[in-house]
Symmetry: C2
Subunit: 503 residues, 2 copies
C-alpha cells in the first residue's frame, strides 16, 4: 500500500474510535444517570488513551515518515502539493500528540469527566466551592500540557494554537482592541438612547413542546439532515459528531424566553451543517476536518445571527410563529418582533448576549484565562475577579456564581484557550457572508422565501468541503483579499443597529 492510502486507512480507524468516544461524551451530557459518572470517567480516559496511543503508533508514524521528516515536518520527496499539505497537517497533529504521554492523556480526560457533573451540580446549587478543587486540578494539568508541548511562546499561545492554529495572544489582543474602540461607545450610545425594543414580547410563557417543534422545522429548512443526526436537550447546547452521517445537536428550552431554544438550535444547526458537509472521501484525515474552531464558530454564528436575527429570515418565519403562538404574537408586528429579538442590553449570560455585547463577554474570559495560565492566579480569586470585570466591561455585577464564573461548560471539559475562537468566529462570519452575498445577489430574497439551499450549498462547497486544505488565515485572505480585521464586523453592526438605535 502506498503511504497515503496506508495513512488514510489507519486514520479512518482512529477516527471511528474517536467517534465512539464522542458517543460516551454525548451520553454524559444528555441521558447518563448520575451514578454512572465514575465508570464513565474510566471508560473515556481508557479509550482516549487508546486513540492517543494508536495515533502515535507505527500505523501512523511509518507511512507518515515516508512523506515528511518526523522531527521537522518538512516534506521529503517531490510530493504533489495536495499530498504535501495533507501530510503536513497530519504531522502537526502527530507532533503535538507524541509530546503528550499516554498517562497524561488518560489523566486529563478522567479528570475532566469527573469535573463535568460537579460543574453541573455547582451551577445548579450556585456553589463555586464544589467545582473549585476540580478546576484547580484541570488548571494544573493544563500547565503540565503546556510544559509537555514545550513551545517557546508564551504559555497561553500554546493552548490557543490547539483551537486556532497560528493565531497568537498578540493577534487576539490587537483584534479585541480594535473591537473595543468601536463597540464600547456604540453600546454606551444605545444604553443612553432610551429606545424601548419591547423585549417583553419574548419573555412571555411559550409552550415548551411548541418551541421544540418550531426549532425542528427551522433545522429541517436549513438543511440539517435528521436522517444523519438528532436534537436532544442539554444544560449547555453543543454539537457533537460520531461520523459525518451521525452529527447530533442539543438545545435547551426556557418556557419564559422564546429565543433560548430557537437561537440554540439555529446556532448548533450551523455547526452541524459543517460536520454533515465535510468531504467524506477524506474521512479520518485533516481534509475531512473543520479548518479551525474559529471557522467552525463562524458557521454557527452566521446562521444564528446573520441569518437567524435578520429581517428576511423573519419575513418568512414570523407569520408561521404567529400561527403557533397566537396568544403571544397575534398583536405583534414583524417590525416589533425584529426589534425585540435584536435588543442590545448588557446581561450576565454570554450565550444570551446580543451581537454587540457578546464580544465583551469573550474579552473578559480571554483576560481571565491569560491570568490563569500565564500568571497562575488563584482559583479562589476567580469569582470576584469575574464580577469585577463584568462591572468594568458591561456595567453590571452578577449576584451569583451561576450567573458569573460558573456559567460556561468549557473549563469543566478542560478547554482553556477556546473562548477567543468565539470572537474570531464573529469576525470571520461577516467576511464569509459578504462573499456569499457577492456570489448570490438574491440571497436576501431566497432567505425571505425560506429557501436556504443556495446559501447552504455555497457554504458546503467553499467552506465545509475544504477541510484543512486551507488555514483560517488563508481562507479569510482568499475570500476578502486581505488579512483579518474587525472592520467588516463593525460596519455590519453599525449598518444593522443604526436602524434600531441612534448610533
Amino acid at each position: 500500500m502506498n503511504p497515503v492510502d496506508a495513512l488514510k486507512n489507519e486514520l479512518k480507524q482512529i477516527k471511528d474510535l474517536k467517534g465512539a468516544i464522542n458517543l460516551l461524551y454525548w451520553d454524559m451530557e444528555t441521558y447518563m444517570p448520575k451514578g454512572g459518572t465514575e465508570a464513565r470517567a474510566r471508560q473515556v480516559s481508557m479509550l482516549e488513551a487508546m486513540a492517543h496511543e494508536r495515533f502515535i503508533g507505527e500505523g501512523v508514524s511509518k507511512p507518515l515518515g515516508e512523506l515528511v521528516d518526523l522531527d521537522s515536518g518538512k516534506s521529503l520527496n517531490g510530493l504533489d502539493s495536495n499530498t504535501e499539505r495533507l501530510s503536513f497537517e497530519i504531522w502537526k497533529d502527530y507532533h503535538r500528540a507524541v509530546a503528550l504521554p499516554k498517562e497524561f492523556v488518560e489523566e486529563l480526560s478522567r479528570t475532566a469527566s469527573l469535573a463535568h457533573p460537579v460543574w453541573v451540580e455547582a451551577r445548579e446549587k450556585n456553589d463555586f466551592s464544589l467545582f473549585s478543587p476540580h478546576l484547580e486540578k484541570l488548571i494544573a494539568l493544563k500547565h503540565k500540557e503546556i510544559s509537555y508541548l514545550g513551545s517557546n511562546s508564551i504559555p497561553y499561545d500554546t493552548l490557543l494554537d490547539e483551537y486556532e492554529p497560528g493565531v497568537t495572544t498578540e493577534d487576539v489582543e490587537k483584534l479585541f482592541s480594535e473591537l473595543k474602540t468601536d463597540l464600547v461607545p456604540m453600546i454606551k450610545a444605545i444604553q443612553d438612547s432610551g429606545v424601548d425594543t419591547k423585549r417583553e414580547i419574548l419573555q412571555q410563557h411559550y409552550d415548551a413542546n411548541k418551541q421544540w417543534e418550531f426549532s425542528e422545522v427551522i433545522l429541517k429548512d436549513m438543511g440539517y439532515d435528521f436522517n444523519c443526526g438528532r436534537q436532544d436537550k442539554a444544560v449547555h447546547p453543543f454539537t457533537i459528531d460520531f461520523h459525518p452521517t451521525d452529527v447530533r445537536i442539543t438545545t435547551r428550552i426556557n418556557e419564559n424566553n422564546l429565543m433560548d431554544c430557537l437561537t440554540g438550535s439555529i446556532h448548533e444547526g450551523g455547526h452541524a451543517l459543517y460536520e454533515q458537509g465535510l468531504d467524506t472521501d477524506w474521512y479520518g484525515t485533516p481534509f475531512c476536518e473543520a479548518i479551525s474552531y474559529g471557522i467552525h464558530e463562524s458557521q454557527s454564528r452566521l446562521w444564528e445571527n446573520l441569518v437567524g436575527l435578520s429581517k428576511p429570515f423573519w419575513e418568512y418565519y414570523f407569520p408561521k410563529l404567529q400561527t403557533v403562538f397566537p396568544e403571544n404574537l397575534s398583536n405583534v408586528s414583524l417590525d416589533e418582533f425584529y426589534r425585540s429579538i435584536n435588543t442590545v442590553k448588557p446581561g450576565f449570560i454570554r450565550v444570551d448576549a446580543d451581537e454587540l455585547t457578546y464580544n465583551l463577554h469573550i474579552m473578559l474570559r480571554f483576560e481571565i484565562e491569560q491570568m490563569i495560565i500565564n500568571d497562575n492566579i488563584e482559583v479562589a480569586a476567580l469569582p470576584s475577579l469575574w464580577n469585577d470585570k463584568m462591572e468594568e466591561y458591561l456595567g453590571i455585577r452578577p449576584e451569583t456564581d451561576t450567573e458569573g464564573i460558573l456559567q460556561d461548560v468549557h473549563w469543566s471539559h478542560g478547554s482553556f484557550g477556546y473562548f477567543p475562537t468565539y470572537a474570531l468566529g464573529n469576525l470571520y462570519n461577516i467576511i464569509i457572508f459578504n462573499k456569499v452575498n457577492e456570489d448570490i445577489p438574491d440571497l436576501n430574497n431566497n432567505i425571505s422565501n425560506g429557501k436556504f439551499s443556495p446559501l447552504r450549498e455555497w457554504l458546503k462547497k467553499n467552506i465545509h468541503q475544504v477541510g484543512r486544505k486551507q488555514t483560517a488565515k488563508e481562507m479569510i485572505q482568499s475570500l476578502s483579499g486581505e488579512n483579518l480585521t474587525a472592520k467588516p464586523f463593525i460596519t455590519y453592526l453599525r449598518n444593522k443597529y443604526s436602524e434600531i438605535y441612534p448610533i
Copy 2:
C-alpha cells in the same frame, strides 16, 4: 502483584471497555439516526475486537496461567476453593475466547450491527426478504463459530452452552416434553371452557404518558435505582449495563393495550435489579456476573409474572391505576382486572403471551433453531416453517411475517441458542419463589402493601450477589434440594389458573 489481583485489575479494564461498547449498542436501539448505521457497525466491531484481543492477551493469560493449566483449566497449586472457582470460571471464558480469531469477532459484530436496523425495517415493512440475506450471513458465521469452538457435542449444544453453561439439547428436550405433556391439555381445556376473562378491559385507549409514569412508579417501588439507570423506549424491550452503577432498561408503549408497557417495564426491571445488585467488589470478574441467561430470565419473569400478575400486587396497585385511568377502570373490580390480565389465549407474539402459552412459543423457536444449526435448513423456508409450527402448537397461523418469523430481535443480534433460556427462566423462577416464600412467610402481605424490599433484598443476597460462584444447576439444587424439573412450574400454573378456568 499476586495473580488474583493482577487478573482483577486487568478484567476490570476489559469490563470498562465492554461497558463502553454496550453504550454503542444501547444508542443503536434507542436514539441513533439511521444514517449512523454503517459507521456504528465499524465502531462496535473495532471495539469488540479490541476487547477480545485484550482478553486473550498476556494481561489475562499470564496471571491466569499461574492459577490454572491454560489447556485443561485444572487448578495448579493448592488454591483456596474461592480462588479455584474464580480462576476456573475465568478460564472457561478465556478458553472459549482464544478459540475465536480476532477477525471473526470483528466480522460477527459488524454483520450483526448491519443486520439489526434491516431487521427493524423488515419488521416495519413486513418484508422478510429484506432481512433474509443478513440472516443467511449470520447463520453462516454461527456455523463458523461452532467450528472454531470445535467441541465434540452436537452443534446446537455449543451455542446453548454460551448462554446456559452445562445445559444440553437433550436436557432441554426432556424438560420441554415434560412441559408439553401438561401444558397442551391445560390450554385445550381453557380454550374449550368458554370462560370470558374480559380481555377488552385492557384493550381500550390508555394515554401513553400516563402509562409511562405509572411504569416508573412501579419501577421505583420495586427498588430499581434511577440514580443508576434510566428507562427509554425501544422497538424490543431490553436491559443493558455499562457498570452496576448504570443499568438501563427500555420498554414500549401501546396506547391500545395497557399491559405492553407495564409488563415490559416490570420484566426489564427484574433484569435490571440483578445487574444493579451484583457484587461490585468483584467487578470485571465472573463473581460480579449473572450466573446464566436462564437465571437472569428467572429474575425478570419472577417480577413480571409471579409478582406482577399476582393478586397481592394488584391489591396494592389497582386502586392507584383506577385513579390514573378512571375513564377506563372505575367500573372494573379488582377481580375482573386480575382475571383480565391473566387471560390465557394463544396469540402470535411471544412477548405478549400468557404464562401458559409462552413456553410453546419457545419450543417452536428451539426446534427451528435446531433445524437451522444442526440441519442447515434454507432461510427461504423459515417463514412457512414458522407458521406451520405455530399452527401445530397454538392452533393459529400468522398472516404476516411481522407477526411470525420477524417478531424477535435475537437473530438480528446473531443470538442463536438463546431462546431456551427463556423457558428455563420460567422453570427456575418458581423454584426460587417457593424458597423466598419459605424464608419470608408474609411475602404476600408485603406485596399487597407495596413493600418489595424484603423480596428484593432476598434476591440480592441469595441470587444477585452470588455471581458465578455457583452454576445454575448448583443453585437450583441448593434451593430445592433436587435437580431441575418442570413439576413446580406446572403445579404453580395449575393452582393459579384453576381459580380462573376449569382445569
